[in-house]
């Protein structure tokens, strides 16, 4: 018979877990990984358009965060600190991808959760949307995802990207306009 009792550490705050890791309990870091894998995995996939690239960037970010954990001045705010690392890794990975001249990789992720009512229609819509998203400039795509998908405020976005609020607002606005253009083009076909 399996035991189903939750473990106290799983409900601990980020700061408590970070303290455990810094005290030598490296296994406690798995709690952090499991806690933020889904949330930030989604961001990485949307930024990079490919599950493989996203997993690589996310893993790299987790490893870098682990090795720099002592430099996390506010462990209770581990999530935004980690997000900053991940955003940098995604930008670097996006640059590498640009060099490879790959514009978009449509893997199975886009089709995993297709609507039960109109799966083909929904899959096609997602494909167009993902393609349009990947055609945005990296800065615009990042700003759009942080604002409208991750639902961050502009101050938090500025802390993560190191870009001023005014510039971020402009990027979000431009991203919205560009997405509309791109999707209207498809709609007009």
């Amino acid at each position: 018979m399996t035991q189903t009792r939750g473990l106290p550490i799983q409900n601990d705050s980020d700061a408590a877990i970070v303290a455990r890791v810094l005290a030598g309990d490296s296994g406690a870091y798995s709690v952090i990984v499991a806690r933020y894998r889904a949330q930030y995995g989604r961001y990485a996939v949307r930024m990079l358009g490919s599950r493989e690239d996203a997993e690589e960037a996310l893993q790299d970010a987790f490893v870098r965060a682990y090795r720099s954990l002592a430099k996390c001045d506010e462990p209770e705010r581990f999530a935004p600190w980690f997000f900053r690392i991940l955003a940098n890794r995604c930008r670097t990975a996006g640059t590498r991808r640009g060099r490879r001249e790959r514009t978009f990789v449509n893997d199975e992720i886009a089709l995993l959760s297709a609507s039960e009512e109109h799966p083909a229609e929904r899959a096609a819509w997602r494909e167009e949307l993902d393609r349009a998203l990947q055609r945005l400039d990296t800065d615009q795509r990042e700003a759009f995802l942080l604002k409208h998908v991750e639902e961050l405020g502009y101050d938090d976005m500025a802390a993560i990207t190191g870009v001023g609020v005014s510039a971020l607002k402009m990027r979000v606005k431009r991203a919205c306009e560009r997405l509309r253009e791109l999707l209207d083009e498809v709609q007009g076909d």
Binding site: Y29, R35, V45, A79, R180, G188
Partner: protein, 216 residues
Amino acid sequence: MRCKVTEESREGQGLSPFIAQIAAELKRPVRLDPRFDERVMEALHAPEVIPLHPTRQADKPGTRRPWIARTWTLHVSPIGAFAAAAALVGVVAFGAWQLSPIDQVQVASEQFTDGLTPVSNTGAEPLVVHQFTYYQKGLQSISLEGDFNDWNADSTSLTEVSPGVWTVSLRLRPGVYEYQFILNGKQRVADPTMPQTSSDFGSPNSVVTVSAKVAR
């Protein structure tokens, strides 16, 4: 285009339906490799890249390596080199004659009769901590039901440890388990980040393979 896009509202009047529709689509969870956590934990302890040609301490001005680490040059005449090679061959041949194959077998045999027994799996497999996580903002509660708790959602609740991040960890025996999350006490959903299988009740179950390897 298969999906109609509604008109965008003016700037500053809130989120337009157009953007809201896109955002909702992009908020769908994604599925990562089920071994992702394991890979990350392995990578944490992987050695960092060691430069192929590290700068040697002795190369820096003002430093001197110990004698054992210094580079020495030995000049030998052809006759001297031949004599040294012959001596080396002689030493190797003498050693091989002293240690016969029978002696080697006897040594190996003695090791096995020295009270050692083969390793065997004598006990039950240990429990492994597995963490279940669900990410969605705006929920009141999430519970978990599956093979491991006889599909009793009342026994296992998730805790919101960070805005929208719900989690609970269970000690499980290694094996394959099916499960679902219950959102706000009524909506059954599969874990969008894990493989799924059909269930007897319409909505798919998620499948997790708990491996003893990840026990820590």
